[in-house]
Amino acid sequence: MQHQILRNKNKITVISGVLIALGFLSLWTVGNELVFEWALIIASILGAAPIAIQAYQALKVKVVSIDVLVTLAVTGAFLLRNFEESAIVTFLFLFGAYLEQRTLNKTRSAIKELTEMAPESALKLMDDGEYVEVEVDEVEVGDVLLVKTGAKVPVDGTVLSGEGSINEAGITGESIPVGKEKESKVYAGTILDNGTLQIVADRVGEDTTFGKIIELVEEAQDSKSEAERFIDRFSRYYTPAVLLIAFIVWLFSRDIASAVTILVLGCPGALVIGVPVSNVAGIGNGARRGILLKGSEVIGDFSRVDTMVFDKTGTLTMGAPAVSAVEYYGENIPEALGYLASIERESDHPLAKAVLDEIGETEYSVVENTEVVKGGGIVATVNGHRVAVGNVALMVKENVVLNEKAQADIARLERQGNSLVLSAVDGELKILMGVRDQTRPGAKEHLQELKKLGVKHLVMLSGDNQGTVDIVGRELGLTEAHGNMLPEDKSAFIKRLIEQEGRIVAFVGDGVNDSPSLALANIGIAMGGGTDVAIETSDVVLMNSNLGHLPHALGLAKATARNMKQNILIAVGVVLVLISALIFSDWMNMSIGMLVHEGSILAVILNGMRLLSYRQKA
C-alpha cells in the first residue's frame, strides 16, 4: 500500500491538481461551495498521503525531513478547516518535487552520458577457437578479444593483430581518430571507427583508465566542501529548530494558523540542494571535455589561484625536438634533401628523427664511406658526391663557404634557441635546418587567456639550461622562467611561493617525474593524463595535452564557485524574505510561502544548469 502510493506519486499529483481546478471552477462559475469544499478535501488527503508516508519513514530513522514539516503544516491547516491551503500546499509540494526531479536529471546528464559510455559486452576467444559475446564483467586479464568496426573497446589492452582507427573521445575528450596497429595500446570506452582488432586484455573493469575516470568523477560530484558539510550539519538541526519555533509560537499566541505557516516558510529546500547542483553541473561540463575536477573543494581552491607554475618539457613544449625553420641555398635542392635523408636514416642521433620527419617522402640513395666526426656530424659519399651533415664547426672544417645570408640565418636561428643541422654537397652549402623542442600550438594565446582570468604570475620551471628557458619564456610571455632545476628544486620553489609569499599556486605538469610538485601545490594539474600516478596525485586532470583546456578548466572552476555562492544567496535570501513578510505583512500565507519556496528550488537548479553550457570566451 505504502509503495503503491509512492510509486504513483506523479499520478496523484495530476489528480489533485485536476480536483483543485474543478473545485475553483465550480465555485467561480456556479458558486457551488459544497463541490468546492469536497474537491479540496479529497485533493488534500490524496496529496498528503505520499508526503506523510515519506515523513513517517524519515522519522523512523530519526531524521526530521522537510516532509515532516509539510505533513504537520498540512494537517494543521486541514484541522482548521482551511482546505484551500491544505490542498494547494500539498499540490505545490508534489509538483515542485516532480519538476525538481526532471531538472536535476538535466544537471546530471553530462556525467550520466559519460558513465553510459562504459562498455557492456565483449567478443571473447573461447577454447574452441570461436568468439562468443560475453558480459564485460566476465572478461579477465589475459583474455583475447575481438573488436569489430563500430564497437566499443571493452578493456584496456594491446593489439595482437589487425589495424583500425579509434575515436578516443571517451578518454581524451577529443574526437580525433587515432590509428592503431599491432602492439598499439587501446583503451576501454573508446570506439573503433573502422577496421577490426584482435586484442589481449591488460586491465579490466575498474582498473581501466576509463573505469578510473568514472570512479573519480562519481566521487567528485558527491564530494563535499567545508561549506557544504557546514550546510549539512546546519540543516540537521535546522528542521527540528523550525519545528520548535512553530511550537513556541503556538504556545504563546495560541494561533495555530501562524504556527503552521512557519512550518512551511521554514523549509530549507533550496539551501541543501543549491551547492550540490552547481557542483554536479560544473564537474559534468568538464568531464565531457576530458577535464576532471576532483570535487567542490578543488573547485573552490582552483578558482582562487593567482600563480601558475608550469613544467616546460612536455607541458608548454611538445617534448620532442622538431624542425622549426629551413633555409635553402643554391640549386639541386631535391637531390640534396635526398642525400641528407639517406645519411640521417642511418643515424640514431636525436636530431636525425626530426630532420627525417621534416623531409618526409624522398628518394634514398646508397651511402658509402660514412665517417662520424666527433662533435661535428657525419661526412659520407652519396651517389659519388661528398656530403657533409652537421654543425657550423663541421662546415668550417670541410671548407664550406658560408655567405652573408647564410651567416645571418645561422645567427637568427641560434638566437631562437635552435640546434643547427647544415648540409653541404661537394663543399657547397645547400640546406640549413633549425631544430628545437617547439612550444605547443596556441600556447601563447592560452597563457594570455589565463592572465585575463586573473592569474597574475605565470612561471616556468625546467631542467634545461637558462638560455633555452629564457627564449621559451620570452616567446610565451611568461612572468618568470627558471632553468637548471631538478625535480626537488621545483618542489622547493613551489613550497617557497606558498609558505613565504602566501600565493595560491597551481602546478601544471605531465605527471612523469613531477609528482612531488603536483602533490605539494595547492592545485596539482596533470596534463595528458592516463598515467595512474598523475590521476591519483593531482587535483585536476586534463586527459589530453591540449593547453586550450587549461583556460577552460580555470574559467569553469571560477564560474562554478560563483554559481555556488549565487545559489546560497538565493536560498538564504528567500527564507529571510518569507519570514520577514510573515512578520511585517498581512498577505503572507502558506500557499504563497510554498509557491515561493518551490520557485526558489527551481531557481537554484536552473542556475546550476547554466554551467552545463559554460564555454570559455576566447
Binding site: 523512523k60 536535476l104 560530484q221 541543501v272
Partner: protein, 76 residues
C-alpha cells in the same frame, strides 16, 4: 568476512533521501557504520559489511523498505 558492496539505486532527487537511507543503513547490524557512503548525485550507496552477520539481501531490503528501488548491486 568483510565485503564491500556498491548498490545502484533509482535516481535520488532530494538530499534528505540520502540522509534517510544513511539512517536506515546505520541501524543494521553487521554494516560498518563508518564506511557508509550515500552518493546523492550518482545515486549510489557504497558500504562495507560483515558477510557472516548480514546478507546483501537484508541490506537491499532495508533500502527497498524506505521506498527506494535498488537497481543493481555489486559485491567484492
Amino acid at each position: 568476512m568483510m565485503k564491500a558492496a556498491t548498490l545502484q539505486l533509482e535516481t535520488l532527487t532530494c538530499p534528505s533521501c540520502a540522509a534517510k537511507i544513511e539512517g536506515a543503513l546505520k541501524s543494521l547490524n553487521g554494516v560498518d557504520q563508518g564506511s557508509i557512503k550515500v552518493l546523492f548525485n550518482s545515486s549510489k550507496v557504497k558500504l562495507n559489511f560483515d558477510a557472516d552477520t548480514i546478507a546483501l539481501d537484508d541490506i537491499t531490503q532495508a533500502i527497498t523498505k524506505m521506498g527506494y528501488i535498488v537497481e543493481k548491486s555489486v559485491v567484492k
